[in-house]
């Protein structure tokens, strides 16, 4: 389990690093043009640490991820993702990962991001990817949908959420400086959240 999670985090790092330019371009349109640079810096460091050390439990892995992002990202996404991963590290267990756990993880991520950024759904942030994804998981659990279908639905909702940011006006973060002119651009943080969720789900489904 621990090793699979380590591989998952390495895969996530690789995906973010691959998308460094894309995320940076998105941020250049409505922010300061560093989101990809920021996250790639954080995840590169994470990769190095993951490759060097051995880990006892998944909580340790997520705590390391949190602290590495907090220390190395340098932009708002550092404390935001950092606090999300820190919250995950507090609830994740080593022996199982069912729909209940996934809902808890999603909710804890949201709680962490909201603690730091005080944003709600609809403010054109990473939450607009993560909240619909979490809602989808909860809906699946309530309807006793099987895990594979639940994950596929969740991914679909995350993608929809990400794309829904295009039409939104930013009211939090640097993009909010642009006011109405933030409309028409996909939010970089919503995009990186989607990439991470996609990596988690795809690796789970394999």
């Amino acid at each position: 389990m621990v090793n699979r999670t380590k591989k998952l985090l390495l895969k996530t790092a690789a995906v973010i690093i691959e998308n460094k330019e894309y995320l940076t371009e998105l941020d250049a349109a409505i922010g300061d043009g560093d989101h990809g640079i920021n996250l790639a810096r954080g995840f590169k460091k994470l990769k190095e640490k993951l490759e060097k050390e051995n880990f006892e439990g998944r909580d340790e892995l997520f705590k390391l991820t949190a602290m590495t992002l907090i220390s190395n990202v340098g932009g708002a996404s550092g404390p935001l993702y950092g606090t999300a991963f820190l919250n995950i590290s507090k609830v994740i267990s080593d022996n199982k990962l069912d729909l209940d756990d996934l809902v808890e993880i999603a909710e804890e991520s949201i709680a962490g991001i909201q603690k730091r950024g005080k944003a709600e759904a609809g403010e054109k942030t990473m939450l607009d990817t993560i909240i619909p994804a979490a809602e989808s998981l909860k809906h699946s659990r309530a309807n006793k949908v099987d895990l594979e279908t639940a994950l596929n639905n969740c991914l679909e909702k995350a993608a929809e959420g990400m794309k829904s940011t295009i039409e939104m006006q930013a009211t939090k973060g640097r993009a909010s400086y642009l006011g109405e002119r933030s409309i028409g651009h996909q939010d970089p943080g919503a995009t990186s959240s989607y990439l991470m969720i996609k990596t988690f789900i795809k690796s789970y489904l394999n």
């Binding site: 349109a29 922010g31 300061d32 043009g33 560093d34 950024g117 005080k118 939090k172 640097r174 400086y177 642009l178 006011g179 002119r181």
Partner: protein
Amino acid sequence: MVNILIISHSLKIAEGTKELAEEMKQDEVDIQIAGGINNGELGTDADLIEQKLQNMDYKDGIVVLADLGSAVMSFNMVKEWLPEEKQKLIRLANAPLVEGAVLGAVEASLGKNLEEVMATIEENSIINKNNL
């Protein structure tokens, strides 16, 4: 496009503020600085302010951000030396230096006019740091 002049007693503050503001601008706003005296000492250099105001494009207006009273005094003096129709287009903002420059750069690069840029950066909420 509205352009921006940053006047600080400190060259470092002026340079850093320009970098921070340029990171956010979406278009060709001209951000100029007049920082410090004698290449690094703290103070205001009226000649440098004059030189910048002489050379900047002012047809859509110039927003001026200054840090402390003596910078304001030097700016007001230099401004009076300019032709009257130019004076009208150069405005000292009641705005904080760094925060005003960053927000002003965004506003200007969105194509807002002089009045609009001034109105936005002169809102008191610009210093509500605890309100994310």
